[in-house]
């Protein structure tokens, strides 16, 4: 069995599972946030009206909650959603609630790894599509809707069709100034926004072995944009060290068997990957940066679970150090722990000296909700994950998706720029 089959077999209490088997998997961890949380509360209210008992959760210690989409509260409705969420966690005895303005908080997927909330081999579900991110730790990590999350909270399990696995091999390291984001955009461009639909996208090979855990997180994060059920990388010593440094204990590694089967294998040569962007209005609409359209950008956005981890900010700082931004540039570290490290190591000073604005962790602008949405006809280059019409604001605004290095280089020139031209 491959790693996903082994994890799901264990979770279903079976010796063996194969693609297309329907199983009920016991869940190890579940996450909800300030959008899916109130949605779940609404489902609970409906169930109560139908006479179904919703007094107790199956195991509050396995649940954690993030405030990320509409914080700082965008308006009264968002503020009330946060109050609802806080009452919910209090009433149900959920202790792991990361609150805005109270120490560590941030984007849910970033917290999953920064706080070592998910371990290798876990079956982890979250009320958000980018739950896939956390598969980089060697877990089966999958996004679900409100009804399914409510079901998990009450019963501790959920149905899955065991996915077949597409295996993406990266032979050799990515070149300097090329990031994991460039690779995943290339892959999505090759296979399309439904190219991984209902499947696992697994990443391996010498180039992945060489990659940092944070880079692997970027890859798994955007498997969602290829429609995948989950993304995964087999855990290694780097993952163990990463999680141990963040307080995890009792880490045991699950790996695929030597004779594991994959539905399809894709090969990429690390040395051939170069900086890539996805043009409006699809993450699959890619081109290499050298052939990017000559558009005047209005904004560079460096934020989100995809593109505001610590190494993403380090990459941005490399470009912005001693330079000035030419367009509106917003940098929002994805969690307070990252914000703090960026402050301690002088990155925030570099950003501010360059003229950029630094904001608090939030999903706000990435999903066009608040905290920097785009006006009609505005054009943005962004380290985020989606660029569908209206994604980051007005339906006639445009978003180009890029790596943090490309977004920073473009901030300096006001045009879509290959970072190698500035270094």
């Amino acid at each position: 069995m491959n790693i996903v089959e082994k994890i799901l077999a264990r979770a279903a209490g079976k010796d063996q599972v194969s693609p297309d088997d329907v199983i009920f998997a016991n869940i190890d961890k579940v996450m909800l946030h300030d959008v899916s949380g109130p949605g779940v509360i609404k489902v609970f209210d409906k169930l109560k009206n139908q006479g179904i008992n919703v007094d107790k959760l199956w195991d509050p210690s396995k649940v954690w909650v993030a405030e990320d989409h509409f914080v700082p509260s965008a308006d009264i409705i968002s503020a009330e959603n946060i109050v609802k969420l806080q009452n919910f966690t209090k009433n149900y005895g959920i202790e792991k609630h990361f609150k805005y303005g109270m120490g560590q908080y941030g984007i849910c997927h970033t917290l999953s790894h920064e706080e070592a909330l998910v371990l290798p081999g876990d079956v982890y579900v979250g009320g958000d599509s980018h739950t896939n991110t956390t598969g980089a730790l060697g877990a089966f990590a999958c996004g679900l809707g409100h009804t399914d999350i409510a079901y998990v909270l009450l019963k501790g399990k959920i149905w899955f069709k065991v996915p077949e696995t597409f295996y993406f091999t990266l032979n050799g390291k990515l070149p300097d100034h090329v990031m994991a984001k460039d690779l995943i955009l290339k892959i999505i461009g090759d296979i399309g926004t439904d190219g991984g639909a209902y499947r696992t996208m697994q990443f391996g090979g010498s180039g992945i072995d060489e990659m940092t855990v944070e880079s692997r997180l970027t890859l798994c994060n955007m498997t969602t944009e290829a429609g995948a059920k989950n993304g995964i990388v087999e855990p290694d010593q780097k993952v163990v060290d990463y999680l141990t440094n963040r307080g995890a204990t009792n880490i045991s590694l699950v790996n695929g068997d030597a004779d594991a089967e994959y539905a399809k294998i894709y090969e990429y040569e690390g040395s051939e990957i170069e900086p890539i962007i996805a043009k409006p209005f699809s993450p699959a609409n890619i081109t290499v940066v050298r052939e990017a359209p000559n558009v005047d950008l209005d904004k560079s956005y460096i934020g989100s679970c995809t593109g505001a981890k610590y190494e993403d900010l380090e990459a941005v700082a490399k470009i912005l150090k001693g330079r000035k931004v030419k367009i509106r540039t917003e940098i929002l570290p994805a969690a307070i722990s990252i914000y703090k490290r960026a402050m301690e190591n002088g990155l925030l000073k570099i950003f501010l000296d360059a003229g950029a604005t630094v904001g608090p962790p939030t999903c706000g602008a990435c999903c066009g909700a608040h905290m920097g949405v785009l006006a009609k006809d505005e054009i943005c280059i962004s380290t985020t994950n989606r660029n569908f019409p209206g994604r980051m604001g007005h339906v006639d605004s445009q978003t180009y998706l890029s790596s943090p290095l490309v977004a920073a280089a473009s901030a300096v020139t006001g045009k879509i720029t290959d970072p190698r031209d500035l270094i």
């Binding site: 899916s36 109130p38 169930l47 989409h69 509409f70 809707g145 066009g368």
Partner: protein, 161 residues
């Protein structure tokens, strides 16, 4: 199940156009419905009628896990979405929450059915009858578990064997 078709002849209709991100804070189903499809068709809310169907291309509902998407369509009156294929979270949200039927059709049905056609969907025989054009198409049968969840009226009413 009879109704009229609203056709969007394109692939990858994503959750950001089905219900834009700024409305995710709303959990009043009726209010969500007033913003359904706003990112693609600002007239949707005024033209949709109770019992209508949406017809579209590949990968319908791609993007986010927001259950707001099937909720907004369902509370607009949409009983089924017919598409060449569906994104996975939209599909399971539609079924597990019993909001609407996600029906996979083939290229022939997609091309043949036009805006405003009246069709009759029969999930027991996996047939779609185009009453306006007097044609019959096959739909892809639901997988066993999906069929059982639909029959039960959603995941919470489904009793696993």
């Amino acid at each position: 199940m009879k109704g009229n078709v609203i056709k969007y002849e394109r692939d990858n209709i994503d959750t950001d156009v089905i219900i834009p991100g700024q409305y995710l804070k709303i959990h009043d189903y009726a209010e969500l419905a007033t913003h359904a499809m706003e990112g693609l068709d600002p007239n949707f809310h005024s033209k949709v009628k109770e019992g209508d169907f949406i017809l579209s291309g590949k990968n319908f509902g791609c993007g986010s896990s927001r259950e707001h998407a099937p909720i907004a369509l369902s509370h607009s009156g949409i009983k089924a979405v017919l598409a060449l294929s569906f994104a996975r979270i939209f599909y399971r949200n539609a079924v597990d929450g019993a909001f609407l039927l996600p029906i996979e059709i083939d290229e022939d049905a997609y091309q043949s059915i036009s805006e405003n056609d009246e069709i009759d969907i029969d999930i027991s025989s996996n047939e779609i009858k185009n009453i306006t054009k007097n044609q019959i198409y096959k739909m892809k049968p639901f997988s066993e578990i999906i069929g059982k969840i639909i029959e039960s009226g959603g995941l919470f009413k489904y009793k696993p064997d």
